[in-house]
Amino acid sequence: MLALTRLTYKEAAAEGILQAMEKDSRVFLLGEGVDNITGVYGHVLPAFRKFKEQRVIDTPLSENGLTGFAVGAALDGLRPVLIHQRNDFMLLAMDQMFNQAAKLRFASGGRHKVPLTILSFVARKTGEGVQHSQSLQAVFAHFPGVKVGMPACPEDAKGMICRAIEDDDPVIILEHRSLFDQNDFVPEGYYKTPFSARVVKEGKDLTIVAVSAAVGDTLEAVKIFAERGGSAEVIDLRWIRPLDVETIIKSVSKTGHLLVVDTGWPMFGVGSEVIASVCERAMDSLIAPPQRISMADSPCPASQYLQSGFHPKVSDIIKNILGE
């Protein structure tokens, strides 16, 4: 039995990074501002205190280049962790992430490994406008050759970054900034979250698959459902790729109903993929058409007077469940 300690989501992530670096001297961090006074959002402070500039490298603002540098270091036997302060900036690194990092093991006939971890952040704060409000997991998960994870709780914020760092393929971890101060019990020692979804709450009437910050929103919503006598099973997807279709199908074959709650856009999104996978493999289990809740299919406006209705809210989930 692992000893537990109470940590916030971002403290847990920081502890995971520190322990992964203590465990393996090949692990190093790089990114814009990683060694500054705030240590990104605090994620790098423990690691920087212990390992200093030798293994925590502040960098110029060169997202595509940095990704390529990290790939090169990975090809040479190190295990880089590259940090981007927002996932929107990762679009500058599309070539290196997906033409290069995602392909090199395959294109080398398995001779190369690219043990690269990319840690970045999704947000939904008011006023951030069109380029600081995106949740790009579906874009990233489109590419074979990478893994994409979105921790929804402190335990996974730690366990998933450790899993990512130990993996021999590129892994993208997208944390959600709205979860940073959420706290819970976290195992003290080093551990890795498996590449599988997590059944957060068991139920029999409806399966809800949620990702990232949508997991907490969904748990709020199903309380109302329970008050009305409904019983929802809530699955935290955790990994967008590899997608744990088995856990979802097992649940849907019990409940007959499926709702997916995502933090990204609807078109070609996580909801689309989960629903398509269930329809392909377990159509007979579905009693009613599957549903999805996503961001509005539009860029996110900045004004506090315009933003309402853009990010899905607890009330949107309740409405969908209750069919109101």
Binding site: S62, F69, Q100, A107
Partner: protein, 309 residues
């Protein structure tokens, strides 16, 4: 270097240049015969750049390259049999048939990887140099790329980072004056790339890419500087004789003149150095032919790969 030593060195480099040319001529035959089904980017005309640089490197040094990588791979000591097998799509290829002509790899020879997205592999070399520095190794990384790469953001990102961190690496820009069919002066303000790199506070050099001894000399100095002080940029002026990809000439397209090409071919390093070794040439050619014929037999008798995900 005494006269004898220089002649031995020249003989070695002449042999390596000729071997690359004959290998690429064989690739042309295999392409024509339908054994290679891929866009081969031949480096015929540019052999001295590859051979000159590699003859300055140590075994532990690492090289990355581009879509035009056959010559770099062979000059660094990459396995010829496995290269031809890769080009023919066979399971015994250096990447098991999964990489192809633009993704050669021979880790044992220190030829790490090549990639056709222009400029992309430059960053790998920066990362390898960074890893070398972090691990405290006496190893430098070398990136080969063309003049077109200099127009990519990642080139400047790489130059900047390598300079800030004084990384042990050499940037080798093979300036062959054309990116596919676009001449350099339509794409850049001047032909001398070196001058625009110099302000980034690294050592720069510019050398005649047909003079294999001059290329090697520049690279030797670069190895010393890179190992001790920080990155070096070498602009190697060179010329591609064949079309951008494929096995033919392309003077008929009109984007460059046959006269321009003939001026470069008059200074062809293989022709010039070949005159020095006229008495040995028959034996040298026979050695190369035997090796290439064996490699072709190896490739064409190898099993086809089985698909994995």
């Amino acid at each position: 270097m005494s006269g004898l030593e220089e002649k031995d060195l020249l003989r070695k480099m002449y042999f390596e240049m000729l071997r690359i040319r004959r290998a690429e001529e064989k690739i042309s035959e295999l392409f024509k015969a339908g054994h290679i089904v891929a866009p081969v980017h031949l480096s015929i005309g540019q052999e001295a750049a590859a051979v000159g640089v590699m003859n300055a490197l140590r075994p532990q040094d690492k090289v990355v390259s581009t879509h035009r990588c056959h010559g770099h791979y062979l000059a660094k000591g990459g396995n010829l049999k496995r290269m031809l097998a890769e080009l023919c799509g066979r399971s015994t290829g250096c990447a098991g048939g999964y990489g192809g002509t633009m993704h050669l790899i021979d880790d044992e020879a220190g030829f790490v990887v090549s990639a056709p997205i222009v400029g992309a592999s430059i960053a790998f070399a920066v990362g390898i140099a960074l890893a070398s520095k972090i691990k405290g190794e006496n190893k430098i990384a070398v990136a080969f790329f063309g003049d077109g790469s200099v127009e990519e953001g990642i080139f400047w990102e790489s130059i900047n980072f390598a300079s800030v961190h004084r990384l042990p690496m050499i940037f080798v820009c093979e300036n062959n004056l054309y990116a596919t069919h676009s001449p350099i002066l339509k794409r850049q303000p001047e032909e001398r790339i070196m001058d625009r790199v110099f302000p980034h506070r690294l050592r720069v050099d510019r050398v005649d890419g047909n003079d294999v001894l001059a290329v090697r000399e520049a690279a030797l100095q670069a190895v010393f500087v890179a190992s001790n002080k920080g990155p070096v940029f070498i602009e190697v002026r060179t010329y591609r004789y064949k079309e951008h990809w494929g096995i033919n000439e392309d003077w008929q397209l009109g984007y460059r003149s046959r006269e321009e090409g003939e001026a470069w071919m008059a200074k062809d390093p293989i022709k010039i150095y070949g005159q020095l070794f006229e008495s040995e040439n028959e034996e040298i050619e026979a050695r190369i032919k035997k090796e290439i014929d064996e490699a072709v037999d190896f490739a064409l008798s190898s099993p086809v790969p089985i698909r994995r995900s």
